[in-house]
Structures are given as C-alpha cells and as structure tokens.
C-alpha cells in the first residue's frame, strides 16, 4: 500500500505542472519575445516606440498571413488535408496582380481615383485567378485520391507546389522582381505616440478586415456556408442530407484561393518585391499560423497569423532577418510538441 501511495502523492505537483503548461505554456511561449523586448527597451531607452512599430508592422504582415492561413484551415477542416500548394496559389496571386496592374497601366503617377478603381479591379482579378487555380488543383490532384491513403494527396500536393513554382519561375524569371510602389507604402499617414502608421499598413488592414467579415458572414449565414460546415463535420451524413459534397469542397477551395489571391495583392503592394519562391516560405509561415490558432478554426487562423506576423517582425528587426524562418519553424515545432491542438482548437484525431 505504501509503495503505491508514495508515487501517487509525488505525481500530484508534476501533474499540476503539466496541466498548467498545457493550458498556458503556449501563451507564455508566445509572449516571451514581445515582453522580453519590451522590458529590454524600457530599461535601455525608456520608450516603447520601437516595439510599437514592430507590432504595427507585425499586424499588417499578420493580416496577410491570416488570409493565407484561412485557406489552410478551411481546407483542412473540410478534407483533412494540408494543401501544400496553397503558398504557391498565393504567389500566383501576387504575380497576377503585378502583371495585371502593369497591363491596365497603373503607375506611381496614376491619380488617387484611378488608383483606387484600378486596384479594386486588380483585387477582383487576382482573387478569381487564385481561387480558380485552387479549384483546379483540387479537381486534378486531390479529388481522384479522396479515398486513397492520406500519404497520396499530400504527395500530389507537394508535386503541384513544385509545378506552380516552376510556372512562377518561367513567368517572372528566377530573381526577385521589384514592382512599382503604387501606394507609396512607406509613406506616413499619421502616428500614435511616435508609432508610424503607413499607407501599407492601412491597405493591409483595409482589405483584410472587410474580407474576413464577409467570409465569416458567408460561412455563418448563407446556405452554402451551412453546407460547408455540415460537410466539415461529417461528409457522409452531409451527402445523405442532400448536400453536394464535391461542389462544397470545390467552393471551400475557391474561397481559400480567393483569400490567398487577395493576400498576394497586398503582399505585392506592401513589400514591392515578388519572386517565385515567396510562396514556399509564405505557405509554411501561414501554415504555422493556422496550426498555432488551432487548425480548422477560422478565428484561430486570424489570431495565429497576427501572432506569427509579429514574431517575424520582431525577429527581423531585433535578431537578424536571415534567422527569421528558423525562428518561425522553431515555434512551429514547439507548438506541435506542447500543444498540437493550438490556441483555440480542439483535439483532433491527427494531432491527438
């Protein structure tokens, strides 16, 4: 009896620690960088302006990642597949945007009204280009393999991502391309306590926030949105209820692709450089964001996107840009180890 009770009492604090880490470990991990640098700044310079600028830039970047991450999360929610080619869909969105506004003749000299309508048109074009591309990928690479083992569609996804990268490579050559800074993205609009808010930040948030609200409303209110949620919950039952599962899955890929296309446009205008390889890193970063928020959870993807954007920005600015991808991936691994279900997600079969 005694031998049995001793380890039991010893296990209680350990178990409590584990529970505590399970609940708050990820949050502590995420806050470590910003809080650490906040203290560092306060001690060294006595002002938080630099951190504030990091946070604003992080928010704008995060908005882009959030749009891409939603594509991952929606697709994962409905077919339990990591759409590896999603980053490339985003890249094609950027390329379409750059080519399209060059075609319709937008330059830095175009007036505000012309610019506004021109960019609105570009936004629509690249959203549809990316959306339809994503639907095509699903049709060609994933649908034939829907009943195959999980490994198979994952491999075709990787295959497609390479094909699209080469499309990008042939389209705009292998080196990063500068594109005209149409919106004068670094130009200061106003500042709060010394923290600059630029045109680029406003554009990122101005496009992202309405899109997010529109999409959430679509999923929550519309008939097709209801069909999407039903299919995500149980495809077989949904089919029995008269939902066309194939169409619904295509629709999900369309929405995911459209958001990636919008992100592509914002990225092109915000960063003013594009290259064929941007999709690979973006895809992994956005996937990290989706996992961080809890894959399958749209709000989680947005939250994750913003957090990852901020971490990236802090790391770019404080540590060294070359190390940023490594830091993001390190976070990805840590999340996978300590809380595979993410911040807002529930336990899934895969991550269990």
């Amino acid at each position: 009896m005694e031998a049995a009770t001793v380890p039991a009492t010893a296990a209680v604090p350990r178990q409590r620690l584990r529970e505590f880490l399970g609940k708050y470990g990820l949050i502590i991990l995420l806050l470590a960088l910003p809080v650490g640098f906040a203290i560092h700044d306060l001690v060294v310079t006595g002002s938080l302006v630099r951190l504030g600028e990091n946070l604003v830039a992080g928010l704008s970047n995060g908005a882009i990642w959030a749009l891409v991450a939603i594509g991952y999360t929606l697709v994962y929610g409905i077919v339990e597949l990591i759409n590896f080619a999603h980053g490339e869909v985003f890249m094609i969105g950027s390329f379409t945007a750059a080519s399209f506004f060059a075609t319709i003749g937008l330059t830095t000299a175009t007036g505000t009204t012309g610019l506004f309508f021109g960019l609105a048109l570009t936004l629509i074009v690249c959203m549809f280009a990316s959306g339809l591309l994503n639907v095509m990928i699903e049709r060609v690479a994933y649908r034939p393999l829907r009943n195959a083992p999980k490994l198979a569609p994952l491999i075709t996804a990787v295959g497609f991502s390479f094909i699209l990268q080469n499309v990008g490579l042939l389209w705009k050559s292998g080196s990063p391309q500068g594109i005209p800074d149409l919106i004068n993205s670094q130009h200061e609009v106003f500042n709060i306590f010394g923290v600059t808010i630029s045109n680029g930040d406003l554009l990122a948030l101005g496009v992202t926030v309405p899109l997010l609200f529109g999409m959430t409303a679509f999923i929550a209110r519309s008939r097709l949105g209801k069909a999407m949620r039903a299919t995500a919950q149980d495809p077989d039952a949904a089919r029995l209820m008269g939902i066309n599962v194939d169409t619904t899955i295509s629709l999900t890929f369309l929405i995911g692709g459209m958001l990636a296309g919008a992100a592509g446009l914002i990225y092109a205008l915000y960063q003013t450089t594009i290259w064929y390889f941007q999709g690979f890193t973006a895809g992994l970063v956005a996937f990290t964001a989706a996992v961080m928020g809890g894959i399958g959870n749209v709000r989680g993807a947005v939250l994750g996107g913003i957090i990852i954007g901020t971490i990236q920005q802090i790391s770019d600015n404080r540590i060294k840009p070359e190390w940023t991808p490594a830091i993001v991936f390190l976070y990805l691994i840590l999340i996978m180890v300590f809380k595979p279900s993410g911040l807002l997600g529930e336990q899934t079969r895969e991550a269990g």
């Binding site: 009943n147 991936f329 691994i333």
Partner: protein, 410 residues
C-alpha cells in the same frame, strides 16, 4: 487482405498485371552485382556516364535510408535533407582544412595519406568520418523523431520539414556563428580553434574537402571515377544488406505493423516509441553515410546544397520506385538521377528552343518532378516495383476484393 493475395495468387496477378516470381528477389542480387562490377570497364574512367553512376549510387544509399522512414515505418519525412547536411558537415569538419587553427595550426591527422598529413585542419580517414557521420545523424534522427512521436500523418510531415529547414538555415547562416562567442563553451573553443572560427562556411562552402584515400591505391581524383564508383558500390551493398536483413527482422515487422495500424500494433505489444525512433535513427544514418561520401566526392560542403528540393528529390525516388520496396527504391534512385543529370541537361535541353520557347530545361527540373509525383500518385500509386503489401494498401483503401473490383472497373 494479405490472405486473399496468398490464397489466390493467380487471380491477383492477372488483375495487377506483371508480378515477379518469388525467386526473382534472390536472383536479382547476384545478377545486378556482377553487372554493377563490370559496368565501369565498359566506359572511359573519366566519363560523365560513370560520374552520373557514382551520384546514382550515392542517392541510392540516401533513398534506401528514406525508404526505411517513409516506406517501412510510414512516417512521412519531408526534411531528409537534414541528414544529408549533417553527414556532409561531418566530413567538412573532420576531413578538410576548415578548422585551420586547430592544434596550433599543425592540424590533427589520423590515417590519411602523406600529402594530406601536411595540411592544417582536422583530417581523419574516411572510414572514421563515416563512423562519426553515422553517430551524428543517428542522434539527430532520433532528436528530430522525438517531437513527432505523438503526432500522425500530415503533422509529422510538417515537423520534419520544419527541422529540415532549420538545419538548412543553420548551415546557411553558420558563418555568422563564431564558436568563440558561444556562451560557456566559447572559452575552450577559442583556445582550440582560434577566435574567428565559424560554425559552417555558409554558402561559400567548405572547400576543398579531403578525397577518400585508401592505402595501396592511387589518390582519388575526379579524372578517374572508377575508385569512387566502387566505394559507392560497397556502401550501397552494405546498405542493401542491412535493409533486407532489417526488413525481415522483428524490428522491420514492427515498423510495418506500426505503419499499417498503430493502435493494433501497440495493443499487440509493439513498443511504439522505441520502434519509431529506431526507424528515424536508421534512416538518418544512411543519409549521413551518403552525405559524407558526397561531401568528399563533390569536394565541397556548401549550404546551397541543403534545400527543401533535395528532400523531395529523394522522396520522389522512393515514391517512383514504390514505397517500402527495396528494389523499387534502387530503381527509382537510378531513374531520377539519370533524369536529373543526363536526360534533362544533356538530351532534352535543346527541346524548348526547338519548339520556340525560351527557357532552360534544367530550370524546370523540379516542376517535372512535381508532375511526376502527381502522375505517379494518380496513375500508379504503388510505384514501379511495388512491395506487395503496400500495393494492396494503395490500390484498395477499404474492404478487400469488392473495392478492388470497383477501382478496376472505374
């Protein structure tokens, strides 16, 4: 499912087309061995063909390693390049002038030829480097495996991919890391390596690395590919032997059981943690062996070599040949190597200009691989030379005969 194949071999054979007779695997080894030994004598010792063969052999070693992780144990590893990198850096560190100030600039030499003995830096005999590479990569493989133990499927792919990228980043940015500035161990490092010693040479690369030297033979050079070929052949032989022995051992059966159904395997007493870690460790060790060999053969260890593409190249070899199939993997490795280093750059390179397009065929190599992966998965997911059990799994997802008939009709 497997019982149906055993009881009605004639029927399943007719349905799945050609299937090799049972003695084929035993006969294949000696025939291939004789062919492989004779091959270099049919060509000029410095010819490009033999050089491609050396690469094909080195990639075969790597593909066989990845086949253990992905094919046998069913753990999709997208970061296999990490082991190539660690193996290559092991050679870079222990077989070059990289640590120029070690031992007061006199260098450390163990079992190397007279010419190399005069150079600064650490120069160990290739066999010792191989041992070190196996050691390092096995440890690294297990460390990378640890976080994936609780995960399944896609998540494993992502974690291994992230590890591969992190290792790639460290290799690339390693010229920023001054060993003397690392906390705690920095002091002793400064004494041993000098104050400006970096961790890696980044994209500059560690050049030149030691050529393999074997007592009694002329020093290896790029002009004579034959010695390289035979060293690589010996490595492939060892790895093939280990692969066959391990596959049929208790451990190999445990891997396959875990791949087929983890819950059932664990319930039957398969220790899942140990088995998975051994899969990562063994697979990684082969990657390390090949990495060390390639580091010496290429005469440079350069951070540009260690990119995500490379993992996919090796994965493509395994998938092309047939996941879990040893001979299939060998075939896949040779096929893709020759597509990569001969067909695309030498044969098809003028094709785009002939049909009026302006690009280089080698630019789209990976697009072609991607296309190959997609086509393989859709048309022949079991690979060119499928392993029997895997073929059934890939062609019928659930239920035995019935769904097989359905897929055959559809």
């Amino acid at each position: 499912m497997s019982s149906t194949a055993a009881t009605s071999p004639a029927r399943s054979r007719s349905r799945r087309g050609f299937q090799s007779p049972p003695w084929a695997e035993k006969a294949a080894a000696p025939i291939l061995l004789v062919l492989a030994i004779l091959l270099p004598f049919l060509f000029d010792p410095g010819s490009a063909f033999i050089a491609d063969c050396v690469l094909a052999l080195a990639y075969t070693v790597m593909a066989l390693g990845l086949n253990i992780i992905v094919g046998f144990a069913g753990l999709l590893d997208l970061g296999y390049v990490a082991f190539f990198a660690i193996g290559a850096y092991t050679l870079g560190w222990l077989g070059s002038g990289f640590f120029a100030f070690v031992n007061h600039s006199k260098g450390i030499h163990v079992g190397v030829n007279a010419f190399t003995s005069a150079l600064p830096g650490i120069h160990l005999n290739f066999v010792l480097v191989l041992v070190a590479a196996v050691l390092f990569t096995t440890i690294a493989g297990m460390l990378i495996g640890l976080p994936t133990l609780r995960l399944r499927g896609d998540y494993i792919a992502i974690v291994t991919l992230a590890f591969g990228e992190i290792i790639g980043r460290i290799a690339r940015n390693g010229d920023d890391i001054k060993l003397a500035k690392i906390p705690i161990v920095g002091g002793p490092f400064e004494n041993a390596f000098g104050k400006d010693q970096t961790f890696t040479a980044g994209v500059q690369g560690i050049t030149p690395t030691d050529k393999i030297s074997i007592p009694g033979l002329d020093p290896f050079t790029q002009l004579n590919q034959r010695p390289w070929y035979y060293v690589a052949l010996v490595l492939v032989g060892i790895v093939l032997f280990v692969n066959f022995r391990v596959r049929d051992s208790r451990l190999g059966r445990a891997w396959i059981a875990l791949r087929e159904d983890e819950v059932a395997a664990v319930a039957m007493g398969v220790p899942s943690v140990k088995t998975k870690l051994l899969a990562y460790g063994t697979g990684a060790a082969f990657g390390g062996i090949s990495g060390a060999f390639l580091g010496s053969y290429n005469s440079t260890v350069n951070a540009d070599q260690f990119q995500f593409y490379f993992s996919i190249l090796i994965l493509g070899m395994v998938i092309l040949g047939g996941l879990g199939s040893i001979w299939g993997t060998v075939l896949g490795a040779w096929t893709l190597t020759f597509i990569n280093f001969w067909l695309l750059p030498d044969v098809l390179n003028s094709l785009p200009s002939k049909i009026g397009l302006n690009f280089d065929m080698t630019q789209i190599t990976f697009g072609i691989y991607g296309f190959l992966l997609v086509i393989m998965m859709i048309l022949r997911p079991q690979g060119l030379l499928p392993e029997r059990r895997r073929a059934m799994e890939m062609t019928d997802s659930e239920g035995g005969e019935d769904s097989q008939i359905l897929t055959a009709r559809a």
